[in-house]
């Protein structure tokens, strides 16, 4: 399946309806069963895929609607991580969790999620994985001598899972690492962990780094300069960053540094409900094209659409696709 120039995709999550939030919380209150929740998840994932297809995306995800949040879905699956299951009242809260021994190698079960996605779309499919640095920041470390050591072991487990995903047919895998923006001082060792994570993974691997999107608001401030030049050593194929909300000032970095990967340019602000017009999206793409060649650019939102109402999320995706088409046409495609 070949992709057009300026391919469009999501960062991962799609709009989480309020009624689904309530049902997830009902599950935590033991008022609905796991089986019922699984059926609900299958249904809403199909709907999310369909919305992305109708919006016209080239690469779709499962909307991450099975996930309570980007952390818990993984710590629940990571062997050796102990979770206090009484520690959250609302499904979206984070669990309190800790690691008290070496994390053993074991499958995480993401392959099932990918297979379900693959079976329900003809489009290119992408699956997202929360990266080892972000997970390390949420797991209380009672065993490893350093955060780097914990992150490295998590990376080994995730690396095995990514290889399983590739075996199952995954061609696009995204690693989400927003916590680097909150702890830029970690990035010096973070790149090595990233490379452990992607070693031998035969797929197009993207790393997504934003300023946080928890509760639909930024968690941190600053700029992307902290990524450079260390990021240049990352053995990934794509780097996906947030530009729509923050403006394009950091695009200058791509003039300053010659990056060896494709760049995912965030052209949709996911922290505001105002829907961009296709013209605004096109203008953002054109601006980015002054710094990143269009043939090496991916068009996507700043981050996941989780916190936006469904109608807004859908309208934003549609505007993004239309904006990309405008620029493709200008480029003669």
């Amino acid at each position: 399946m070949s992709l057009p120039i300026l391919p469009t995709t999501v960062v991962g999550s799609y709009s989480m309806p309020g009624w689904l939030e309530r049902l997830k919380t009902e599950y935590f209150a033991r008022r609905i069963s796991r089986h019922e929740l699984d059926e609900i998840h299958d249904t809403v994932v199909k709907a999310a895929i369909k919305d992305q297809e109708i919006a016209g995306l080239d690469i779709v995800s499962d909307g991450e609607l099975r996930r309570d949040n980007m952390i818990d879905y993984f710590v629940e699956r990571l062997p050796g991580v102990q979770i206090d299951r009484s520690s959250k009242k609302f499904y979206y809260d984070f669990y309190d969790c800790e690691v008290v021994g070496k994390i053993p190698m074991a499958p995480l079960g993401l392959v099932n999620d990918f297979r379900f996605l693959r079976e329900n779309t003809e489009r290119e499919a992408k699956i997202c994985i929360t990266g080892p640095h972000s997970l390390t920041k949420r797991i209380r470390n009672k065993h490893y001598p350093s955060e780097e050591a914990l992150a490295t072991d998590i990376a080994r487990v995730l690396n095995m899972e990514m290889k399983e995903l590739v075996k199952a047919g995954a061609r696009f895998i995204q690693i989400d690492e927003p916590y680097y923006s909150g702890f830029p001082e970690d990035f010096s060792w973070g790149v090595e962990v990233l490379n452990t994570l992607v070693e031998g993974v035969n797929a197009t691997v993207a790393v997504h780094i934003c300023y946080g999107n928890r509760y639909g608001k930024p968690s941190w401030a600053g700029n992307y300069r902290y990524l450079f030049p260390a990021i240049l050593k990352a053995k990934v194929q794509q780097l996906s960053l947030e530009f729509a909300r923050r403006g394009g000032e950091d695009l200058e970095l791509f003039r300053e540094f010659s990056v060896p990967f494709e760049v995912g340019v965030g052209v949709i602000d996911v922290k505001a409900e105002e829907v961009e017009t296709p013209e605004i999206v096109a203008a953002r793409i054109r601006k980015a094209a002054q710094f990143v060649p269009p043939e090496r650019m991916i068009v996507l939102p700043d981050c996941g659409l989780f916190h936006l109402p469904r109608d807004v999320a859908f309208a934003k995706l549609r505007a993004m696709v239309q904006g990309a088409r405008i620029v493709r046409k200008e480029l003669g495609h």
Partner: protein, 483 residues
């Protein structure tokens, strides 16, 4: 019968529980109350906090939903400050008759509106008039409105409180600077500026601290003074006259600041307000016997009071309602003589009362809650609340809060000095408002609901007592990032 004794201190002015029971037994014996009705009465003794409020000394409300008129459950509320000992029997008897289908009105009332949610009531039009014509009111009373506050001054102006606030903010800026994250422009927003005194004192101290520590933060400072009243904004200008280059005066809707300030989304490092939430439109909800009710109100003037005011101000009683409407449209100029217009305004406000009815909420999911709140959140919070409960929804405060949070920078914080109910159980110890403070409405704010809304918006909410003035009822709400 259930008797809720809400007060927690002895007060000789408040009718005793035995007087209440004796009164109701007497009414039962004389046939004014049916036995089935008597059995289901709930009496709230001394439930209102403010001396100047919108209630009669005794008010009676029917709880809807009962087909048998003789068995309709009643709620009797006794305002201990108005109901003098010895007068209770006559007051209750008067409030009980004549019994209308949904409410028990007293005789001789001039209604100013139909039943509606309190937040839609004409009472808030009076509140708006007060803030837009504050100078007229103050000239007539010869008293600055702050003099009417408990203690005669606003806690917002306490020097040490402001010094500490500035110190905390400076520390934040220093930390941001150390992380190379200090924005070029440092935005601070004061909402509901009052006289501007606090803003002026804050800026004076910030400048002094910045100069003392040679940090050069002051030139980056953009201090926004926001208020919906242009007159108030204009008046505040004098208080910040030494910092005008740093200040912007912005007319904004306190309920929806993000609408005016959307260009500052995620950019403001500190938002502060004091005694603003307690003056935003509100509505009330009651849970009784497991059912939820909206409390609707209807503003009225006692006819006798209206006649007295009409005579004093040369307005025929038949024209009172119309003249009140005109007052709310054009202000004291509703009468040819300005000073008489102000007198009319002040006397009508003093006489203004609200009668109430309860309207069952048939479906919580479809109820018109303020935008910040949904039925699931309300369900959550009520699951841990007392079973029979009347509480403020604090709709205006919730909306303002919800629509302020998106302005905050990732490291930014909101501080609100106000009067909060921080736990729904506190409503069992008296219902905190609404009251009248000069020409404005004052109302405690439901902090428990604010906390719930904050959590879903990504903030933890904390309430600290205001430590700078002994006996102060003010609390300080502040936000921290929720992980």
């Amino acid at each position: 019968m259930i008797l809720h004794v809400n007060h927690t201190r002895r007060d000789s002015a408040v009718p005793t529980t035995s007087e209440v029971v004796e009164t109701l037994l007497g009414l039962l014996e004389e046939g004014t109350l049916e036995p089935t009705q008597y059995a289901r009465i709930q009496v709230h003794l001394d439930w209102i906090q403010y001396r100047h409020n919108f209630r009669e000394p005794v008010s009676v409300t029917r709880v809807p939903g009962c087909r048998d008129d003789n068995a309709v459950p009643l709620e009797i509320r006794i305002d201990g400050r108005q109901a003098a000992p010895g007068s209770l029997r006559e007051l209750v008897r008067g409030a009980l008759k004549p019994i209308a289908p949904e409410v028990v009105p007293g005789p001789g009332r001039i209604h100013l509106e139909d039943f509606c949610s309190f937040r839609r009531s004409v009472a808030w039009e009076f509140n708006r008039l007060y803030w837009s014509r504050l100078k007229d009111w103050e000239q007539a009373t010869g008293r600055d409105y702050e003099k009417a506050l408990p203690g005669g001054q606003s806690d917002a102006h306490h020097p040490q409180s402001i010094t500490d606030s500035v110190g905390d903010f400076w520390t934040l800026l220093k930390d941001l600077q150390s992380r190379n994250q200090l924005p070029e422009e440092v935005f601070v927003l004061e909402m509901g500026v009052g006289t501007g005194t606090r803003a002026g004192m804050w800026l004076d101290r910030f400048l002094a601290l910045d100069q003392q520590r040679e940090t050069k933060f002051y030139p980056r400072l953009r201090f926004l003074l926001g208020d919906y009243s242009l007159a108030t904004l204009e008046r505040s200008r004098a208080a910040v006259k030494n910092h005008l280059d740093q200040c912007s005066f912005i007319a904004l809707d306190a309920l929806d600041p993000i609408r005016t300030l959307s260009f500052l989304r995620h950019k403001i490092l500190h938002v502060h307000s004091s005694n603003m939430y307690d003056n935003l439109p509100d509505e009330e909800i009651e849970r009784r016997d497991g059912r939820i009710f909206w409390v609707q109100v209807r503003a009225y003037l006692p006819t006798a009071e209206a006649a007295r005011i009409g005579e004093a101000c040369d307005v025929p009683v038949s024209q009172i309602a119309k003249t009140v409407n005109r007052l709310l449209d054009v202000g004291p100029e509703c009468l040819p003589d300005h000073s008489r217009g102000v007198q009319f305004w002040q006397e009508i406000w003093a006489a203004l009362r609200l009668e109430e009815r309860m309207v069952a909420v048939e479906d919580l999911q479809d109820s018109p809650f303020p935008a910040a709140l949904n039925s699931a959140q309300l369900d959550d919070i009520l699951s841990e609340a007392p079973s029979d409960l009347r509480f403020q929804l604090s709709s205006g405060a919730l909306e303002s809060f919800r629509n302020t949070l998106p302005l905050l920078h990732p490291r930014g914080y909101l501080q609100v000095q106000d009067i909060f109910v921080t736990d729904l159980n506190e409503y069992s110890m008296g219902f905190h408002g609404p009251g009248k403070l000069e020409g404005s409405i004052v109302n405690w704010v439901n902090g428990a609901l604010l906390r719930e809304v904050a959590e879903r918006a990504g903030y933890d909410l904390h309430f600290a007592p205001f430590p700078y003035r002994p006996g102060s009822r003010t609390s300080v709400l502040y936000t921290t990032q929720r992980e």
